[in-house]
Symmetry: C2
Subunit: 245 residues, 2 copies
């Protein structure tokens, strides 16, 4: 009974084909390798920085996403208006195939950059990852951990000068892949990086299907999503909004 | 000392202008009206459906986002790999200016559609909202609550036939505004709807700045984000990935 409803909810045309996947070997069950994705959370992180990559990776065959923070329990975002639950502490997680380091607001990032335990954990995880990634100002944490010296990297548009001070080479684009490190630009760029990473972790067909699974056919109502496309007044107001919290 | 670091982190050119906003009246402080946004969470919701609108609205002047669920505490997503913390129960929240209803996986949506307490809460909130919104299969909940009879509405691409069975008129596009109801298409469409809603709740200049604040200048690596752009094999695989959890 429930199965009938489930089919109906997710399209009727493909229901027959779907039933095979449901009853025999769904993609997750068919996969042999296990891919562990660790998403680091810290007080003052930006929600979409973490959730973008999560949403693009969590349905890939064999992938299991875990959130990790200094302590288990709720971790509050930069605006203080939302919290994600964390089930693993840094001490619990010593290995991951993919590390995702989200960015955060000023307060959160400044504190995280000054946290030797956090930076040491990032360094240790990085030693054995297949991919080490960041979104937005998360690259400032990778740089603070010493992982971006002389390397091209993306970051939040307004933080490029600061990334440079930390020894990296700020680069344009939605994300930058250098060796096993992928850094994404601000906040929403984690979605573009996530789809790219999905192709790396599985294959292009699965990544394309992932893009459809989250119906990622973006049509923002305006065209002010990069500092080059926005005027000076918009840039100032954007920073004021970000600083407001 | 910390203020210097904060300025440096978020761009150097605008630091002077920023200082004014920081010390005098930042946009949030200058706002007089308070806009309460309630994001409904339920077991099996899709993370990005909720976090997309949150991230586009949470920095607007006067806006305060709260997450609401049957019970306070962590609420698990459709994949079971992530949980958002909820601080308000349905009984705690009887009014909101904006209601956001995210979609979910099959199991979560089927259960929510059969939950009279949840549907009644949606109906009661809707009576006094300025905007009632949904993302993805969240429109199936609005329809189940009787709010979409004969109205055009967006939903997850694969769920259009089901939305029609519930009495709504499935419509194309990233989001559909009809009266005070705005329904968005699948998962990531909540970002586009959120920017649109930001303009409605504040003004176009602030919405444009919000888009820059989250650096929303999308460049997905592929072009398979809608069923019309994806081939049959990609559509089938997408549904398999979604059904995998």
């Amino acid at each position: 009974m429930e199965r009938t409803t489930r089919r109906a909810l997710l399209g009727t045309a493909a229901a027959g084909a779907l039933a095979v996947g449901l009853t025999a070997a769904g993609p997750a069950r068919a996969a042999e390798k296990r891919i562990r994705v660790a998403v680091l959370l810290y007080d003052g992180f930006t929600a979409l920085d973490a959730v973008g990559p999560y949403e693009t990776l969590c349905r890939l065959p064999g992938v299991r996403v875990v959130t990790v923070a200094r302590r288990t329990g709720p971790v509050r975002t930069d605006t203080g208006q939302l919290a994600l639950a964390t089930e693993r502490s840094l001490a619990d997680v010593s290995r991951a195939d993919v590390l995702v380091v989200p960015g955060g607001g000023n307060r959160g990032i400044v504190a995280a950059m000054a946290d030797p335990v956090l930076l040491d954990w990032i360094r240790r995880l990085h030693r054995h990852t297949t991919w080490t990634t960041s979104v937005c100002t998360g690259s400032l944490l990778l740089a603070s951990a010493g992982l971006l010296k002389g390397l091209p990297a993306a970051t939040y548009w307004a933080s490029r000068p600061y990334l440079e001070k930390l020894g990296a080479v700020p680069a344009p684009g939605r994300f930058v892949e250098t060796g096993k490190i992928i850094t994404a630009a601000g906040v929403s760029a984690g979605l573009d990086m996530g789809i790219h990473l999905a192709a790396r972790l599985s294959d292009e067909a699965t990544a394309k299907a992932t893009q459809l699974a989250i119906e990622y056919d973006p049509h923002p109502p305006f065209d002010t999503g990069s500092p080059e496309k926005a005027d000076e007044a918009t840039r100032r107001l954007a920073l004021k909004l970000v600083e407001g919290h």
